[in-house]
Amino acid sequence: MNNNEIKTTIKNIVVEPFYEDINGETDIFLHCYKAQLPVILKGPTGCGKSRFVENMSYKLNKNLIQVSCNEETSSVDLLGRYLVKGGDTIWQDGPVTKAVKENCVLYLDEISEAREDVIVVLHPLSDYRREIYIDKINLKIKANENFMLVVSFNPGYQKGFKELKISTRQRFVGISFNYPNEKKEIQIIIRESGIYESVAKNLVLYANKVRKLTELDLSETISTRLLINAAKLIRLGVDKKIACNSSIIQPLSDDKDINESLLDILNLYF
């Protein structure tokens, strides 16, 4: 398997990313760090999970290693592999090994999408043992108190019947994310895009109307991220309806009926 298939980013966060605390999740996270407990973030897409982890890494003054898991992500990809270089082979650490060695915040995004064998890595690292075992080089590495494991998954993801195993879930402290309330979401949109309050308010009202729609059967609904994208376009002078259509409605669905009814609802606000 190519090393390119696993998307890993290592970030040294210098400027504090903006994050508005919604339900006291910042406090819980900091306490978990002190208690050396791994954290699982649950919530719909675009509600600020990744931003939250970035914010926390900045606050803890740590490098952040972020891995976007997909159905091809296996334990080998996380732990490391041998590579051929010249006439010799060299061992390359995977993101998990690297994070444990360098005491980073390790963030495994969409963990439920990964292959089942990642539990080989996750289970010993997330319980009291806090260690990884690399069978290929016969090495056991113990994480020290500065290492932090964070995983995330979308519980409502309807792509298949994929769910996280109970035995895996019970090793983590769960923090549930949802879209912020009207006031906070308006503030977030204004802060992120620099748009007028009246427009931000209408965007949030529209999003809240659509979020309550269970009939749509969208895999995900209008996220704060989509609203910020629309607000950024509006700020640059794009017509409000066109901006909302291309940045909110089109990414949500390909169904003609659903798109038209979302436009009908949009017409009530813009």
Partner: protein
């Protein structure tokens, strides 16, 4: 004028009339084409599940169902017509929110009601604008059409003047000069009163507007009794208020409904050994047909004399001793709901059933998922296996085909002939799909080398840690050893129409196209079954073709499936899973063809039915059986994802696409993983 000239002129006139009619017809927008769009829109506004049905008149609402006019043609611009529908939906939803009852009945329409409606509409408008400021734009767009439409009426009638004035007010139209020109002093006083108190002010919705009518009477403006105020646009936009008496009937009806749904008690009788089933015909004595309800099994009152009231009162407890003494050895079946239950264990019912219907061969018990308690109801549903060759011969294909005989073979051959193109297309696609080959990497042997695996092997060899031999690519043809069960819904709902064709016929055509194609490729290894139900105790599973039987022999039995009963999908799927589990083949596909939600008259409906089917899908996954479904219902996309998951359902949008749709299912199932 010669006779040929006369006929030519007549024909020309008729053709012109016909063409003009068609032109008008073309300009209409039809609700059915925009139904799902409007349903989503109304659900979002009301924040609850709303259903929309088409109405021959002007619309209204009952509970969570909106009735909208089936077609609208106000202008040449389709967008304006859609806008009108959207306005109507908003209007109805706000009326519903504030519990205004709107009526569809043209006969009760009079000027008084129109004025009342308009006054209430003003309040609704205020609420609408408060919630959605952009509604101004809608109203500005609609106003010219409303006034244009109203100009057809001569405004010399006092009531029409008032109505016109209020409409102008509602539409935020400011020019009201010379309005009072035609009015008498008294009328002017009345109009001023109405404007001052009701139109200009922000009136509260809870006010009783009927006192205005009394006032109207008092100031003695001439009433035009029995005059039907029937302006098309007015009705479409704002409808009518329901009279007090109708409200009273409605409330009584609701009370009655509550009463009939209230749960009663259950009493047990002594065990009986012999019970005789009486065929009960509902139309024989409509006035007073039933004396007691026993778990959907009733005694017929006029069988041995004796009458009782059918006012819905529940007196079972008072008569319990007497009932115990009565020899309940004659029963009949009914479709009504039960309240209090007087039950008894009957030993011989099944045997009696068997005597009556000799095709009943075997029954199976299945669990059912109860989402209220989050538990299985154990052995809850009884499903009877019926072999199709035991069923009576019925002629149930399309009568438009003018087939005089009821020779089943002829009928089926005719349909094969008719759908030959689809069959050929599907056979071609299936051959293509199952001759397709896929490359498998990391194989122990194969014609090609897997470069990625070889690199890994090279690294392993150098490190000396692992023995890695799987570095070949192997080309593999798709496995033809698949087991397919086609499960068709034969409930009474399939007797309805879809795009000008009977659903039961469409289902049978799908089965014919699919099975004829499958027969050419899979050497008969597929089965076809149908199902229907009448409560949990009477689910039927009709086997049209077994895995062992030949399709060429079995296909004629398709004619014997008639629309009957309800759609209890859960037990039918469970029974199919049981059948398919007997077959030891790796790939199994259950293809369900249905037209409606799971429904049965013992409250197997709504979320209960949907979640039971969802549970079935999980059960099938455990046994590695894929369930795909084809739905012949425009609204099904709202509930199918809940039942089968997002990628497991297909909607039949047009008959033309049957072949294409079926090939898509097979491609998704066996190639795209």
């Amino acid at each position: 004028m010669n006779i040929d000239e006369f006929f030519f002129k007549k024909i020309l006139n008729l053709t012109n009339i016909f063409l003009k009619k068609n032109e008008i017809f073309l300009n209409y927008i039809f609700l059915e084409n925009y139904l799902s769009r409007f349903i989503i829109f109304s659900c979002s506004i009301f924040e609850d599940k709303i259903d929309i049905l088409s109405d021959d008149y002007f619309g209204g609402y009952i509970n969570n169902t909106l009735f909208l006019p089936c077609k609208v043609n106000l202008s040449n611009d389709k967008n304006i017509d859609i806008l009108l529908y959207i306005y109507k939906i908003l209007f109805l939803l706000i009326s519903k929110k504030f519990k205004f009852v709107l009526s569809n009945n043209i006969n009760i329409n009079s000027y008084e009601n129109s004025i009342c409606s308009l006054l209430i509409i003003n309040s609704i408008h205020i609420k609408l604008i408060k919630n959605f400021p952009m509604i101004f734009r809608f109203i500005f767009l609609l106003y010219p059409i409303v006034t244009q439409n109203r100009n057809k009426y001569k405004l010399n009638d006092k009531f029409l003047i008032i109505i016109d004035f209020i409409i102008k007010k509602l539409m935020f139209y400011k020019e009201n000069k010379n309005f009072f020109y035609n009015l008498s002093l008294k009328e002017k006083y009345f109009v001023n009163y109405v404007i001052k108190n009701y139109v200009n002010n922000n009136i509260e919705l809870q006010l009783n507007f009927f006192h205005i009518l009394n006032y109207l009477n008092k100031i003695s403006i001439k009433f035009i009794n029995n005059f039907i105020f029937n302006e098309y646009l007015f009705n479409i936009l704002w409808g009518r208020l329901l009279k007090n008496c109708d409200n009273y009937i409605n409330s009584n009806f609701n009370e009655l409904k509550k009463f009939s749904l209230s749960s009663g008690k259950e009493y047990k009788s002594k065990l009986k050994n012999e019970v005789k089933i009486i065929n009960y015909k509902e139309n024989i004595n409509k006035d007073n047909p039933i004396i007691k309800i026993i778990d959907h099994v009733k005694t017929v009152e006029n069988y041995k004399g004796g009458f009782r009231d059918t006012d819905g009162s529940d007196e079972i407890e008072e008569h319990l001793d007497a009932m115990n003494e009565i020899d309940f050895n004659q029963i009949t079946r009914s479709s009504d709901q039960t309240k209090s239950i007087f039950s008894m264990d009957v030993l011989n019912v099944l045997q009696n059933d068997l005597k009556n219907d000799n095709f009943l061969s075997k029954s199976f018990l299945y669990n059912e998922w109860d989402f209220f308690t989050n538990k299985y109801k154990l052995n809850w549903c009884k499903i009877y296996n019926i072999h199709c060759f035991d069923l009576p011969i019925v002629y149930n294909f399309n009568k438009e085909d003018n087939i005089d005989s009821i020779d089943e073979k002829k009928i089926i051959n005719n349909y094969i002939k008719k759908n030959k193109k689809d069959i050929e297309y599907l056979s071609f696609c299936l051959k293509k799909i199952f001759n397709m080959s896929i490359w498998l990497n990391r194989q122990v042997y194969g014609p090609e080398i897997d470069i990625d695996s070889l690199t890994i092997r090279y690294a392993f060899l150098f490190s000396g840690n692992c023995n890695f031999e799987n570095f070949y690519l192997y080309k593999k043809n798709l496995d033809k050893k698949i087991c397919i069960l086609v499960l068709i819904d034969s409930s009474l709902s399939t007797d309805s129409w879809f795009k000008g064709k009977k659903i039961s016929i469409i289902i049978k055509e799908i089965v014919i196209i699919l099975c004829e194609s499958l027969n050419k490729i899979f050497n008969n290894f597929f089965a076809v079954s149908a199902f229907y139900s009448n409560t949990r105790n009477d689910c039927k599973y009709i086997i049209i073709k077994n895995f062992e039987n030949s399709w060429n022999v079995s296909k004629i039995f398709l004619c014997r499936i008639i629309p009957i009963g309800y759609t209890r999908i859960g037990p039918a799927i469970r029974h199919s899973i049981y059948y398919m589990n007997k077959i030891k083949i790796k790939y199994k596909l259950l293809l369900l063809i249905s037209d409606t939600k799971p429904t049965d008259y013992d409250l197997y409906e709504g979320n209960y039915g949907i979640l039971d089917v969802k549970k079935c899908v999980y059960e099938a996954l455990v046994y590695n059986i894929k369930i795909k479904t084809i739905s012949i219902d425009d609204k099904s996309k709202f509930y199918l994802p809940k039942m089968f998951g997002k990628n497991n359902y297909y909607l039949l949008k047009d008959k033309i696409y049957i072949g294409k749709l079926l090939s898509q299912i097979f491609f998704d199932c066996f190639v795209k993983k």
